[in-house]
Symmetry: C2
Subunit: 248 residues, 2 copies
DNA sequence: AAAGAAGCTTGACCCTTGTCAAAGCGGAAT
DNA sequence: ATTCCGCTTTGACAAGGGTCAAGCTTCTTT
């Protein structure tokens, strides 16, 4: 069990160490020259330790950040300290898009494990976009995709019951991990029950209870942060119906 | 009372008839030549009657649409027919940004009253953006603003109680109306209780009850769709604390 | 190695909100 | 003007999820 845990961790590190930004985050047809220009703009990657802030809400916005390796959460805080986790990000995903509108970061970004990011200075990306139309277009698509993702979260928070939310969450994680070459049915949660709850609009006790319920039904096994999906189809059945009408 | 209703309706129509797209939706410094280019791209405005669809989820995406006059809702539907209203839009606001990522519209856009929109063919706006950097930048900002808005909705849906949600909703409407030159404390709701509920993640009965409660407390008066804010500060007190820490 | 802190699970209870139902009202259509 | 239908309000009741509390495990720190 603990071996399994180690194994998965290890696999993640190894596989991510050779994932390039260009492949995952900017998968667009660029010629050799354009590649060179892009490389010149993307700053050396930065490493963060678990728990470290990449940026904080209120800080000046200068750059977007792409996850190279590791795992992040983004969250917004209310004045009285309530936290809403707005996303969990893995390799190839982009953080900081909300800062463009006001030149100030609108959320916190925190590494949930030792991680590495690429910095994309926004001004320079913007002007590069004018020279490379496909890059500009790709950026619009990335921002649009974030809007679509947010809409799906709204659907989840506004319409779904606790079991449905958790099922949707686990299947989403599973799908994204498998896209990156990891096992779809055997993974380690990088976040706490409380963080899952914050993301899903539930209390940590409800997350815990619902996971236990899934386990009792034989749909998955839970060993602390180690999740094994046993009957992913049962989870899919649970949320068929309450997901977006156009399988987006 | 009914007079008041008519009056507000009238005011909205009149004031909107002389709001230009450039002023509200694209308030950027363009020179005369750039203005001309932009005008050439923005298609003649289109009129819609109450209840008419501007576009539907799944249709091919070609253009963004800016509200010139009137009022819209956007919503996503799940397979089993649950509806999540993702936004209510008034003059100067933009619809369709979620379609960029997949070239397919991801939500429905429906006029809640007789309305008028400008069509912005996205391809042409994109290439115009390459010629006019400030236009390109403005577009990035618009998309980012939408992401920020969505994050605030997540905060609302994930953390706030029914009373807080409704207070936040009313104050947001009030603020946006007053930005457009309308009375901040006396307005007509263009949407049904059910649509408000869908947006706020509540059932229509809860919306109705909560409005009644606010009225009993003397914070506002409700006459069907006619709302008068009497103690807006009381509503603000209710949500102080649960709004974004950086008054975004 | 020990101790403390943090995170997780589980139970009991309660509150907010959803569900179901009935009745009132207003607007649209004839 | 009348009728009908949709929207809204309100009540009674149910239930899902929140709250509080206790105990346990694991990880961190010294």
């Amino acid at each position: 069990m603990s071996d399994q845990h180690q194994h998965t961790l290890h696999a993640l590190k190894v596989s991510c160490s050779n994932c390039s930004l260009r492949e995952l985050c900017l998968p667009i047809g660029l010629n050799r020259d354009e590649m060179t220009q892009l490389d010149a703009v993307i700053r050396q990657s930065r490493r963060l330790k678990r728990g470290e802030y990449l940026f904080r809400s209120g800080e000046a916005f200068k750059s977007l950040f792409a996850v190279r390796t590791g795992f992040f959460k983004t969250s917004v805080a209310s004045q009285d300290g309530r936290e809403q986790v707005t996303g969990f990000l893995m390799s190839g995903e982009l953080m900081g898009l909300d800062g463009i509108s006001s030149n100030v970061h609108g959320c916190d970004a925190i590494a949930l494990e030792d991680s590495e990011v690429c910095e994309l200075p926004f001004n320079r990306m913007e002007s590069l976009g004018r020279d490379i139309p496909s890059l500009q277009h790709h950026f619009f698509r990335l921002m649009s995709r974030e809007i679509v993702r947010d809409q799906n979260v709204m659907l989840l928070l506004g319409n779904m019951k606790a079991e449905e939310r958790l099922a949707a969450f686990l299947l989403n994680l599973s799908q994204r991990l498998s896209t990156r070459g990891f096992a779809a049915n055997d993974f380690i949660l990088r976040m706490s029950r409380e963080e899952i709850g914050s993301f899903l609009g539930l209390k940590l006790e409800t997350v815990s209870r619902t996971l236990s319920k899934f386990q009792q039904q034989g749909w998955l096994s839970v060993d602390h942060k180690h999740i094994q999906l046993i009957k992913a189809d049962a989870l899919k059945d649970l949320i068929s119906g309450c997901t977006h009408a156009n399988g987006v």
